[in-house]
């Protein structure tokens, strides 16, 4: 949504090296540099992170609640994707 406060951006922060970037909130900014600076000034005031992503909210495509069944339930019965599905002889130990 763009208005006189600039477009909306989503902010993702990486807490520690090696960890995934996690969504932490949104803000308004007029350009990329400002979005990045504002994200720093807003969402890392208390040492919350060491790296940031900013993404224009308009660039995000989200699934709908109506999709929930068709998107996610089919994965329920695919137990063969999990290691515990398989039998390994005890003698082999951990695999």
């Amino acid at each position: 949504m763009s208005d006189s406060q600039g477009p909306l951006w989503e902010v993702f922060v990486q807490k520690k090296a090696g960890q995934p970037f996690v969504h932490c909130g949104s803000l308004h900014a007029f350009d990329k540099e400002m979005a990045l600076q504002n994200a720093r000034d807003l969402y890392t005031r208390r040492n919350e992170g060491m790296a940031l992503w900013v993404v224009p909210s308009s660039a995000i495509t989200a699934s709908s609640p109506e999709d929930m069944g068709s998107f996610f339930e089919p994965a329920n019965d695919k137990v063969y994707r999990h290691p515990t599905f398989y039998q390994i002889p005890d003698a082999i130990g951990h695999m």
Binding site: M1, D3, S4, Q5, G6, L8, F30
Partner: protein, 312 residues
Amino acid sequence: MENKTYEDLFEAKLAKNEMIEPKDWMPENYRKHLIRQVSQHAHSEIVGMLPEGNWITRAPSLRAKKVLLAKVQDEGGHGLYLYTAAETLGISRDELLDNLHTGKAKYSSIFNYPTLTWADIGAIGWLVDGAAIMNQVMLQRTSYGPYARAMVRICKEESFHQRQGYEIMTHLAFGTPEQKAMAQDAINRWWFPTMMMFGPPDAESPNSENAMKWRIKRETNDQLRQRFVNQTVPQVEYLGLTVPDPNLKWNEAKKGYDFSEPDWTEFKNVISGNGPCNKERLGARVKAHKDGAWVREAAAAYAKKQNQSIAA
């Protein structure tokens, strides 16, 4: 027919204590109620920057100055988290600000009282933020996801606010006689306005019933007010100061204090624009917005040029 199904799903989610998310179906009244409440909350944070901001340049020590600056900045941040939560309900920042600037939206009546001495900064941090935190802790479990997540973040950050306020009060209460008098005067002026922050008595609160039904609120105004008094009175006593309420008395039967109701006529007056600082507070917000217009236009124009030159 179909709406009925959606409504059933919505009700079922509430019953299971699950959160409602932006893309979920929600009754129009729920959406409206939330927009009103979340934006009112956001406006309160933003307008709330002003009474304390009034003392930033006059804070009496370097430490106090930094703390106050950081605190007022936090309030701006909290306003921002809440505005973005409100925006997920389909209202723009522009509309939200416009509603504030035209007086269509309300904000907490407490910020329409003046900060006259440095002790007021202590009283606001301790009493006003203390009351706000009570509300906010409850709202971490509110039914609307983005609102609840904003509140979790806010509560984490607010935890120093009340402590800094009480620290100021201890310096004053155990300081010189003038300082102690300043502290008592601040309590005298802020006590009842703070009590008003929890809203009208349950019996007369027009929005409470829906808010409870939808699990937006999880405790009533009167419950929160009682808890605040119970918690705060010993803190006043520790300072060797008094609560300006002749009817304040411990009630062993209910394991809580009996106390006087604030002056609800005054409350209605302040809410409807006739508090001591309503004009100044709103005026300051409108001025900042107007003075900032050319800055925002410049940033928009510059961004547009940059995008064109990237595209070219």
